[in-house]
Amino acid sequence: MDFSIIELDDETARFRDEVREFCKRYITAEVLDAEYRDGNGFDLELHMALGERGWILPTWAKEDGGAGLTGLKASILALELEAHHAPSITKGTTTLVLPAVMRWGTDELKAEVVPGVARGDIRFCLGYTEPDSGSDVAAARTRAFRDGDEWVIDGQKMFTTGAQNCQYSFLLTRTNPDAAKHKGLTMFLCPLDHAEIQAIRTLGGERTNMVFYDGVRIPDRYRLGPVDQGWMVLLGPLNAEHAMADSAPPVTLDSPGGMYGISAVFALEAAVAWAATPGPDGRRPIDDPLVRHRLARHALDVEMATIATGPAGRIISSEVAIRVGADLIDMVGPRGLLPRGEKGTVEDGWIEHSHRFAQGTATYGGTTDVFRNIIAERVLGLPRSAPPTKSPS
């Protein structure tokens, strides 16, 4: 056990100052307003500025496009970006996919994309989900047909978040429909030039997309890993997304953490700030025993959301965000309903937004139900709860 303060040497302290300066400069009120409005999960200028400093791949060597940062510095960078609400979804999907590209991509492909990833002008999104397959990832039906040295992709992907910001999709296709469900899949890093992207808006204000692949032809060099063995290729990023590894950062800003806990952290902070401000009657809500009791309970839940790890962290942080968001908006009363920018809105609409946003977190990257199955089977050793798997028909 060790929760002691990390004393920063002068150079690291300067680095932190530099990061904070950077955040102030690039994560402006306009950037945040645009993010609130458009739900892009991405800001081009910010992303390119990160790239310029090697901060997209901060621990990579400078000669490979990184910044050669120590683990500590990389953590400082990540934590400051998070604390400043940097739009980060597209950066996240890009760096999630990169290890699979490094592992399975040809040298030619790596030369084509990796420097751009580091610079910032090449970005990846996740192309798993389809209209008829979500948590059951391997049920994908998008077809890839071989045609000489090329592949022809036909199908439709759903919830390809950030596709509008990306040049490539990490695409799951079915190459052998006669094989068993997990045996006929092949992965591609598919250029998006010829795919049709159609926006989908969410309850949480985020933008995501349908992506239509209508006879999209791509050279074989975009294939990742062996034909029909895409499941193996996919598993790395999928497990990383499923947080199967102990994902606790080695250091932490002494507050936010957790996968979706951050949303609840911000909402709770907003609610505490509201409650500590005297109302029209001169009383502070936080002196009301009931408000106080509820905030204390939420503080506990949010703490759990931030200290839980792995699949449990994914479940708890999402469910805490949902539960806490629903009560905080109640606590604030009528004004809790007002979004950012309206007359009378509370704490910039963080609570109003958080209540909506939280709902999606229980589905992203597989539902909380599926994660409970994962814990039941892999941690507790219980027998599978799903009916026998059949190939999609």
């Binding site: 979500g134 948590s135 059951d136 309850l203 009931l290 309903l337 999606g360 139900d369």
Partner: protein
């Protein structure tokens, strides 16, 4: 234990069933989700409102002496449940409650006539006090009844204030009851004024409870349909207890919540002095059930449930959107406690 022996009959009469069926048919035909969607963000559909007047939805709740049809709360909750089931973009609950209040005082007669003619939509400012407040239906109403000090006041404006954007896309607006653009008239004073205001608040809660039960029932239907149709891991997702049992919990809340609302309604209508805790109880339960029901539905529908194209999210937004105008629902438990246990005795600090 020596309590009254009472009937416990939750059923509807034949007339009530006919009324329910009529409004079910009306809203099914006139208010599909497309209509709700196209009325966003203002939360009001003028044409639907006119057709609803044709159904005498507001007039039916006004006593015959006031020019209405004299229906009671028992009937009005049936209408309200259908309103909620279709999340209809019309402030019918506020208007009915306000119209009934107008009918209860001689000074309300003129405005009530205008309401029944369809030229004024009335509403109620739910929070006692004279300042600025968010009023449900306030962006389409020209008359709002409020309690200012000890006076029950009718506040009128030439035109409604602008709607305030809000999570539920409801037609709510800030009304400054002391503002210069408001003309005020006293309807009743002192004890009478306070009692009438309290009764109106209770009626609003009862009808809103019924609407929330309707909402919950509608999203339950969406969730059940999806759980039957959607296949994952080789089986309909309704075969997984994580899905089916959440839906069962919602179904139980809908059925049991509806019983509670009916019980509270009956007492409020027939023996308003008895079991007064039932109104805050029903309201609290119904809002909690609606939040749970819509949360479950959005979750069961998965990614699709979270898109704005999903009907589930229309309901999700309104579960809070239609209730929070009355304030923090947890406060209802305080009202409940005061009725059940007597007011708290003040304890020195």
């Amino acid at each position: 234990m020596d309590l009254d022996l009472r009937r416990a009959d939750y059923s509807l009469s034949d007339d009530q069933e006919a009324l329910q069926a009529a409004f079910e048919t009306f809203f099914e035909r006139e208010c599909p989700a497309t209509r709700v969607r196209s009325a966003e963000p203002f939360g009001f559909d003028e044409e639907l409102w006119q057709r609803l007047a044709g159904m005498r939805a507001v007039a039916m709740g006004v006593p015959e002496s006031g020019g209405g049809d004299g229906a009671g709360l028992e009937e009005l909750i049936l209408v309200a449940e259908e309103v909620g089931r279709r999340v209809a973009p019309v402030p019918v609950i506020e208007a009915v409650v306000a119209a009934r209040l107008l009918a209860a005082v001689p000074a309300g007669a003129d405005t009530l006539d205008a309401v029944l003619r369809g030229s004024v939509i009335p509403t109620i400012a739910l929070h006692a006090g004279g300042g600025d407040q968010l009023v449900p239906g306030g962006s389409v109403a020209r008359a709002a009844i409020a309690l200012v000090g000890d006076d029950l006041v009718l506040a009128e404006r030439d035109r409604p204030p602008e709607q305030v954007a809000n999570q539920g896309h409801a037609p709510i607006a800030w009304w400054d009851l002391g503002g210069s653009d408001v003309e005020r008239r006293t309807l009743a004073t002192g004890r009478e004024g306070r009692d009438l205001f309290e009764q109106a608040g209770r009626e609003w809660r009862i009808l809103t409870s019924a609407a929330l039960i309707g909402m919950s029932r509608a999203v339950l239907d969406l969730g059940v349909q999806h759980a039957r149709d959607r296949v994952a891991f080789g089986a309909p997702i309704g075969t997984f207890q994580a899905v089916s049992h959440s839906l069962v919990d919602v179904a139980m809340s809908v059925d049991t919540g509806r019983r509670l609302v009916r019980k509270a309604t009956w007492y409020q209508q027939h023996e308003p002095g008895v079991h007064r805790h039932l109104v805050p109880m029903a309201y609290f339960y119904a809002q909690e059930a609606a939040v749970e029901a819509t949360t479950v539905a959005v979750h069961v529908l998965g990614g699709v449930g979270f898109t704005v194209e999903s009907d589930a999210q229309l309901y999700f937004r309104r579960a809070k959107g239609w209730t929070l105008v009355a304030g923090d629902p947890q406060r209802e438990l305080g009202a409940l406690a005061d009725q059940l246990f007597g007011p708290a005795q003040v304890v020195g600090a």
